[in-house]
C-alpha cells in the first residue's frame, strides 16, 4: 500500500513540474526524514530536466515583506541616481517552483501574500515609491511538518495548492531501491507537449457531475478543489497520451485532489460500529506502529465494495461509484482515523499552539518592518530604512544646503527628522485561562476535590508560563467570579480552597459569565481560553429558576452564544458516567470535549495542557 502511495507522490511531482503554476503546488505533510528528502530529490531531478532553476528556491520562515515582495534597492539607487527596483522571492520565481519549509508555522501574512500572487499570476507591487506589476507564475511545495491534527498549513494555502500528500505513512525501507524501474523519468514525454495537449482534453458532462458529487459525498466544499481535480484528470490523460479522459483518470485525479481534503465519509456508509471505535484508539497511537498504516488504508475499501444503493443504470452513478471507491481508498490514514470519529469540527477555532494572539508593538517580538516615528520612548531607529527614506531627497537637500553656505563634504548624507523610521515588532500576547468550576452538589459529591487539585496544578503551570488565570465557580442559583484575572498563584490557591460546594447547577449562567470575562480579556489584548470542569447536568435556568428542562435549553442557548465567538475552550466532563447532555453542550460551544470519568487531578491538568 505504501508503495502505491509513493507512486502517487511521484506522479504528483511529474504533474507539478509540467506546469507549476496551474496547480498551485503541493502540501507535503511529512516530517523531515529520508522519505521526504527522497521525494524532494526526485522533484528536483525532474525540475532540472524540465529546465527549471535548481536548486529549488526556499522561502525562509520569517521572511520580511521586502524580501518576499521586493522594494527599493538602496545601494543601486544611490549609485545610479535612479530608482532601482529589487524584486523579491516571489517575482524572481516566475515559472519556478518554490519550497516553503515548516508550512504549518508560516505566518498568516506571508501565506496570504503567497496566495494573492498565486491567484493572480502576477504580483502587484506598491512599495517604497515603486508601482509595478510583475509576472509571477510559480508553484509552491509546502513542507508541512505538523504532527497534531490541527497543526496544518494555512487554510488559504490548503485551498490553493491542488495536491495534498501525506508521506508519514511511508517508511523508508518500504521504498523501492531505485525508482527508475517504476517511473522512467526519461521516458516521460517532453514537458512542453504535455501542457499543450492537456488543454484539448475536455470532461464529459457525466464526468463533471461525478467529480462534483464525489466531492459532495466527501464533504469537500471548495470549488477550487473541483477545478483542480478536473484539470488533473486532463493532465493525466495527456501524460498517458490517451485519446480521451477515461474514468480511471478521473478516479486518480479525485484520489489526488479531493480525497485528502475529505471532511466526512460518504453518507451511504453505515456509521462506524463499536469495534471501529476501539480501533480508533489504536490509530491514535504514533504511526511508527508496525502494521498500523496498512490497516488504516485498507479499511475504507471494505464498504466501498458493496454497491451503493443508487440507480446503477445511470452512467453518472456508475462513474461516481467507481470514482468514490477510489476516492475513499485514497483518504490518508491520519485523516481517516479522524473522520471515523465523526465529522470534523467545522468550527475550527484553534490557530494552533499555546501562544497568544499577535500584537504589534515597538519593544519586543518578531521584527515586522518599520514605520515613521521618532526613536524615543524605547522605540529603536531602523538605520537602513531611514537611509532608504532619505535617499531620494539627497539631490534636493544638497542643493538647498549649498545655498546655506554651510561647508559640507560631498559625501555627507543629509538626513532630517522626517526620515526617521523606527522598528516595529510583533509580539505574542499573554493568555488568560479561565476556569469555570462546577461546585454544585452533584459535582461536589464526586469530584470537587479533584477539580480543585487539577486547577491548582494548572495554576502552577500557568505561573511558569506567566499566563493569567481567572476562576469562576457556579453553584446554587448563579455563577460568580471567584477570582478575577490574576497572576498571583497564592490568591488563586486561596480562593480555590475556600470554594464552597453544594446546590444546583446553573450552567447557562456560568457559560455567560465565562464568555463575558473572556470577551473583556480579548478587548484588553489578551488571548483567553476557557476550561469548563462540570458534569454538564444543568438544573438551574438562566435567572436562577430551577427546572431541568428549561435549564438545559438555557444552557444550550448560552453554549451557542459562546460557540459563535472565537474563544478557545475545553470541556472536561467530570461525571462518573458521562452523558450525552454534556457532550452536546460542549459541541455547541465548539470546545474540545474530554470525558474524564475516573481522572485524577494530575490527569485533568495534563489533558488541559495537551489541548490548550
Amino acid at each position: 500500500m505504501s508503495l502505491a502511495l509513493w507512486l502517487r507522490a511521484l506522479l504528483v511531482a511529474h504533474i507539478l513540474v509540467s506546469n507549476p503554476h496551474s496547480f498551485g503546488g503541493v502540501i507535503l505533510r511529512a516530517r523531515a526524514g529520508p522519505v521526504r528528502e527522497r521525494w524532494l530529490h526526485y522533484l528536483q531531478t525532474l525540475a532540472q530536466q524540465a529546465g527549471l532553476k535548481t536548486p529549488l528556491r526556499r522561502i525562509p520562515l520569517g521572511i520580511s515583506d521586502e524580501n518576499l515582495l521586493g522594494g527599493l534597492d538602496l545601494e543601486a539607487t544611490i549609485h545610479s541616481g535612479k530608482p532601482v527596483l529589487r524584486s523579491g522571492v516571489l517575482a524572481n520565481s516566475d515559472g519556478q517552483i518554490l519550497v516553503l519549509p515548516m508550512a504549518e508555522r508560516v505566518d498568516i501574512n506571508v501565506a496570504s501574500r503567497i496566495s494573492m500572487a498565486l491567484d493572480q499570476g502576477q504580483l502587484r507591487l506598491e512599495r517604497d515609491g515603486q508601482s509595478n506589476l510583475l509576472p509571477c507564475h510559480f508553484g509552491v511545495v509546502a513542507l508541512d511538518e505538523g504532527i497534531e491534527a490541527e497543526e496544518r498549513a494555512n487554510i488559504k494555502l490548503q485551498d490553493r495548492l491542488a495536491f495534498h500528500l501525506s508521506l508519514d505513512e511511508i517508511r523508508w525501507h518500504d521504498l523501492p531501491e531505485n525508482e527508475d524501474g517504476l517511473i522512467d523519468v526519461d521516458a516521460s514525454p517532453p514537458i512542453s507537449t504535455q501542457v499543450g495537449n492537456a488543454a484539448s482534453y475536455i470532461l464529459t458532462d457525466e464526468q463533471w457531475l461525478a467529480i462534483t458529487e464525489t466531492a459532495m459525498h466527501l464533504g469537500v466544499h471548495s470549488v477550487r478543489a473541483l477545478h483542480y481535480a478536473a484539470k488533473t484528470a486532463a493532465y493525466l490523460a495527456a501524460m498517458q497520451g490517451a485519446d480521451r479522459i477515461s474514468d480511471s483518470h478521473l478516479s486518480e485525479a479525485i484520489a489526488l485532489v479531493i480525497s485528502p481534503r475529505a471532511t466526512q465519509l460518504p453518507s451511504a456508509e453505515s456509521p462506524p460500529a463499536e469495534t471501529d471505535l476501539e480501533e480508533d484508539a489504536e490509530h491514535a497511537e504514533p504511526p511508527e506502529q508496525n502494521d498500523a498504516p496498512e490497516n488504516k488504508v485498507e479499511q475504507p475499501q471494505a464498504p466501498a465494495e458493496t454497491p451503493l444503493p443508487e440507480n446503477q443504470q445511470d452512467t453518472v452513478a456508475e462513474i461516481e461509484d467507481s470514482v468514490l471507491a477510489a476516492a475513499k481508498a485514497a483518504i490518508p490514514a491520519d485523516l481517516l482515523s479522524e473522520l471515523l470519529k465523526g465529522p470534523l469540527i467545522q468550527n475550527q477555532k484553534a490557530f494552533g499552539g499555546k501562544t497568544g494572539a499577535r500584537k504589534m508593538g515597538c519593544f519586543r517580538g518578531r521584527p515586522m518592518g518599520s514605520i515613521a516615528g521618532n526613536p524615543q520612548a524605547g522605540a529603536s531607529l531602523s538605520l537602513i530604512d531611514t537611509l532608504r527614506t532619505a535617499a531620494p531627497w539627497q539631490v534636493i537637500r544638497k542643493k538647498q544646503n549649498a545655498s546655506l553656505a554651510v561647508p559640507r563634504s560631498s559625501k555627507t548624507i543629509h538626513i532630517t527628522k522626517s526620515d526617521f523610521r523606527v522598528r516595529r515588532y510583533q509580539e505574542r500576547t499573554q493568555t488568560l485561562t479561565i476556569f469555570a468550576v462546577d461546585a454544585s452538589g452533584s459535582a461536589a459529591m464526586h469530584r470537587l476535590a479533584e477539580a480543585k487539585g487539577a486547577v491548582e496544578l494548572l495554576l502552577a503551570e500557568c505561573y511558569v508560563r506567566r499566563d493569567q488565570v481567572a476562576v469562576i465557580s457556579f453553584r446554587g442559583t448563579g455563577a460568580e467570579i471567584l477570582l478575577p484575572s490574576t497572576r498571583s498563584l497564592v490568591r488563586a490557591k486561596r480562593s480555590l480552597a475556600e470554594m464552597p460546594g453544594g446546590g444546583g447547577t446553573p450552567l447557562a449562567d456560568a457559560i455567560y459569565i465565562a464568555t463575558e470575562l473572556a470577551q473583556n480579556a480579548q478587548r484588553q489584548g489578551l488571548s483567553p481560553a476557557i476550561v469548563f470542569l462540570t458534569d454538564g447536568r444543568a438544573n438551574i435556568g438562566r435567572n436562577g429558576v430551577p427546572g431541568r428542562a428549561q435549564a438545559q435549553l438555557d444552557a444550550e442557548q448560552a453554549a451557542r452564544y459562546l460557540g459563535r465567538s472565537t474563544i478557545k475552550s475545553l470541556w472536561i466532563d467530570t461525571s462518573p458516567q458521562p452523558r450525552i447532555e454534556g457532550e452536546q453542550i460542549a459541541k455547541l460551544v465548539g470546545s474540545i470535549y474530554l470525558p474524564l470519568p475516573h481522572a485524577s487531578a494530575k490527569e485533568v491538568s495534563q489533558a488541559v495542557l495537551r489541548t490548550l
Partner: protein, 358 residues
C-alpha cells in the same frame, strides 16, 4: 492586460452581485464588504465590476482624473489648469482674436478599480516624493499614490481583515473626508480622493475592526453554493474561461452589455427616484426595532433602497426594495445580543417579518 472573468457569468451569489451593483450605482452608500468562504468568487466579482462600468469624463491631464464639471477649489491641479486657460483666453481676447474660449481638455476614462495589495507601503498608498525626479533632477515633485488613482472609482482591498493597522487608520480617514492630505518637508499637497471602498476577506482569519466595519455601507456574506447543479456550472464555466478566455468573453458579451445598459439606465433614473414619507417611517421603524446605532444605518438603508429601485427600472422606492437590501445594509451594524444566538441576518429577517407582516 489581464482578462477578468465576466460579471454576468458568475453563478449564483445574487446577494453579492446586487450589493456590488448597488454600491457601484450610488457611491454615497459607502462601498461594500464581502466576507465569506474561500473560493466563492469574491475577488472575481469585484474585478469583474471594472469591465461593467461605463467610461467617465475626466480632465485630460489631471493625475486624479477629476470631473471637468467639478467646482474649482477641490483639486489643485485642475485649478492650475483652469488658471492657465483663463490667462490664455484673456490674452486672446486682448489680442482681439475671435472664436470660442478654450475649454479644459477632457477625455473618456475607464472608471478606475484600484487594487490595494497586501504589503503595500504607506508611501505608495498616500503618495510621496517622486524618487525619479528627485534623484535625477533634484526636483521636489509629488508622485501620486493609490488613493489618487482610485479617485472617482473603487479601491479594492482583498484580505481587508489582514491589512496593517496603520494603513487601516489612514484609509478610514481618507474615506471619510474624500480628501488625501500629504504633509512632508516642503511637500504640502491635498488632492481629492473620493472612492468607493470595496473589501473582501475571510472572517475566520480575523475580524475587522468595528471602526472600519462601519465605513462600509453594505456588507454581504457569501457561502459556498451547495446545489449540485450550481457547482457543476461553476467549474464548467471556470474551466471554459481558463481554456480560452477570449472565446468565453465573446460568449458573454450580450449579458455583460445588458447589465451595463441596466446600470447606465439606473444611473439616469437614480436622481429622480422618489421616497415617500411612509417608506422613511418604515425604515426608521425597522432600525429602531433592530436597535442599530446612529443614523448611518438608516441613511444607508434608504439610499440602497433607492438604488435597488433604480436598478429594477422603477420610479419609486417601495417596501419591497427596502426589504431586498435590508440585510446587507444593516447586518454589520447590529450589536450582538447575548440572549439571542442567531446571526445578524436571521435577526433582521425575523424583524422584517414582525414589523412588516406580508
Amino acid at each position: 492586460m489581464a482578462r477578468y472573468y465576466p460579471f454576468s457569468a458568475i453563478v449564483g451569489q445574487e446577494d453579492m452581485k446586487r450589493a456590488i451593483l448597488v454600491a457601484a450605482l450610488e457611491p454615497a452608500i459607502g462601498g461594500v464588504l464581502v466576507m465569506g468562504d474561500r473560493g466563492t468568487g469574491k475577488s472575481t466579482a469585484v474585478r469583474a465590476l471594472a469591465a461593467l462600468l461605463p467610461p467617465m469624463d475626466a480632465v485630460a491631464d489631471c493625475p486624479y482624473g477629476c470631473d471637468p464639471l467639478a467646482p474649482a477649489g477641490l483639486c489643485f491641479y485642475c485649478d492650475g489648469l483652469r488658471a492657465n486657460l483663463q490667462a490664455l483666453n484673456a490674452s486672446q481676447i486682448a489680442a482681439g482674436k475671435k472664436g470660442k474660449p478654450v475649454k479644459l481638455k477632457t477625455i473618456k476614462r475607464n472608471v478606475p478599480v484600484v487594487d490595494l495589495p497586501l504589503g503595500a507601503t504607506e508611501d505608495r498608498v498616500v503618495g510621496a516624493l517622486d524618487i525619479e525626479k528627485a534623484l535625477t533632477l533634484g526636483e521636489k515633485a509629488f508622485d501620486p499614490g493609490l488613493l489618487a488613482r482610485a479617485n472617482r472609482g473603487f479601491l479594492y482591498i482583498d484580505e481587508v481583515n489582514l491589512l496593517d493597522d496603520h494603513l487601516v487608520d489612514l484609509l478610514i480617514d481618507v474615506a471619510a473626508s474624500g480628501e488625501n492630505v500629504v504633509e512632508r518637508e516642503g511637500l504640502s499637497i491635498r488632492h481629492p480622493a473620493k472612492f468607493v471602498l470595496v473589501g473582501s476577506g475571510n472572517p475566520e482569519e480575523g475580524e475587522l475592526r468595528p471602526q472600519l466595519l462601519d465605513r462600509f455601507g453594505l456588507a454581504v456574506e457569501v457561502k459556498t453554493p451547495t446545489s449540485m447543479q450550481e457547482r457543476v456550472t461553476i467549474i464548467k464555466r471556470r474551466d471554459a474561461f481558463e481554456r480560452n478566455s477570449i472565446a468565453f468573453l465573446a460568449e458573454w458579451v450580450e449579458q455583460e452589455e445588458a447589465i451595463r445598459k441596466a446600470l447606465e439606465l439606473a444611473r439616469k433614473k437614480l436622481p429622480h427616484i422618489k421616497v415617500d414619507d411612509k417608506l422613511l417611517e418604515q425604515a426608521s421603524t425597522l432600525c429602531s426595532h433592530l436597535g442599530t446605532d446612529g443614523l448611518r444605518g438608516e441613511l444607508t438603508l434608504l439610499r440602497a433602497a433607492r438604488a435597488v429601485a433604480a436598478l429594477a427600472g422603477k420610479n419609486k422606492a417601495t417596501l419591497e426594495d427596502l426589504q431586498a437590501i435590508a440585510i446587507p445594509a444593516l447586518q454589520h451594524r447590529l450589536r450582538r445580543n447575548p440572549l439571542d444566538d442567531s446571526s445578524s441576518a436571521v435577526r433582521i429577517e425575523r424583524t422584517l417579518a414582525e414589523v412588516f407582516p406580508a
